[in-house]
């Protein structure tokens, strides 16, 4: 996926619209992610990448699975925002199924509530191989 354009499909699975607005912001002339070849498409059948925002509500779960199946191979799922990564603040709600990973496999996690437009561009750069991962898990045990 290095040299070619990434076509993304934006899937809202019950988000509060915070992350959705940040995704729109990334596409504006100010951040202009189209210079990296990213194009927002209207159907999962045309997409390479699905951007999922929001915790997966019980009603949306089936739609998420169908949208994932409609994307041609090779496909990448990017979970944008803390809700999509793990369920976020709604993690123990009766009406959500937690993060997207409970429904479909996730390839990239982008935490943030909402993530800054730069954080989303960083995620796209990671996919394209022009940026490096900046965080690492840390474990410390005393004694």
């Amino acid at each position: 996926m290095d040299k070619r354009s990434i076509w993304v499909f934006h899937l809202n699975t019950g988000s509060c619209n915070g992350c959705d607005i940040e995704i729109l912001d990334v596409l504006t002339p100010f951040h202009d992610v189209e210079r990296l070849g990213v194009k927002l498409v209207g159907s999962p059948r045309h997409a390479d990448v699905i951007l999922v925002t929001g915790p997966v509500t019980v009603k949306a779960a089936e739609a998420v699975r169908r949208a994932y199946e409609a994307v041609p191979h090779p496909k990448v799922v990017v979970a944008i925002g803390s809700c999509a990564c793990s369920g976020g603040i709604f993690y123990d709600s009766y009406s959500t199924r937690g993060g997207v990973e409970n429904i479909i496999p996730v390839d990239l996690y982008v935490p943030g509530c909402p993530p800054r437009p730069e954080a989303i561009i960083h995620a796209i750069s990671l996919l394209k191989g022009i940026a490096e991962k900046k965080i690492k898990g840390e474990v410390y045990r005393e004694g």
Binding site: Y109, P111, I135, G137, V139, E142
Partner: protein
């Protein structure tokens, strides 16, 4: 048309060249909370104020495990505000994308101490040391601090035989 072209030329290029230059972070920006493993005493104040329970405290096998999961964090910075040891710093990191979930965790395991009477684990070593220092400063007795709260209650009431039973 001419008007629009004139405006566009006057405005110039507004696009930020972000992934190729360092990002700009506004002052007061709340990024990823970072635990200083050397300062944390494991009191759990952060876990009790964390709205999405991104910080959890568990006790197992004589260790208290403090785990901060950035994937659930809402970046409210209350943990940094409430920490008595200033062990949680609110950094300006926001480039947190990762392909593995383990990268989003910060896990700290602290040794706990046993109660001298009942043998139950009741506090971390660092926590006890800190409390002893504070109490010595005030000139109060520190002998009973090696007991768990329940046993301390009984001993203070003169019922040491009840506690030992």
């Amino acid at each position: 048309m001419r008007k629009v072209v004139k405006m566009a030329v006057e405005t110039g290029v507004v696009t930020r060249p972000y992934p190729f230059v360092a990002p700009e972070v506004p002052p007061g920006f709340r990024g990823r909370p970072k635990i200083d493993f050397n300062l944390c005493i494991g009191c759990g104040a952060c876990a009790s104020v964390c709205p999405p329970n991104a910080i959890t405290v568990e006790e197992k096998d004589g260790f208290r495990r403090i785990s901060l999961f950035t994937g659930r964090c809402i970046f409210c910075a209350r943990c940094g505000e409430v920490c008595p040891e200033k062990a949680i710093k609110i950094t300006e990191d926001f480039e947190l994308s990762s392909d593995e979930k383990i990268d989003l965790y910060q896990i700290l395991e602290l040794k706990m101490v046993r109660c001298e009477i009942c043998g139950r684990f009741f506090a971390t070593e660092r926590e006890l040391k800190k409390v002893k220092e504070e109490i010595e400063k005030k000139g109060m007795e520190v002998e009973k601090l090696n007991l768990c709260p329940e046993c301390r209650e009984k001993v203070s009431a003169g019922l040491e035989s009840l506690a030992r039973r």
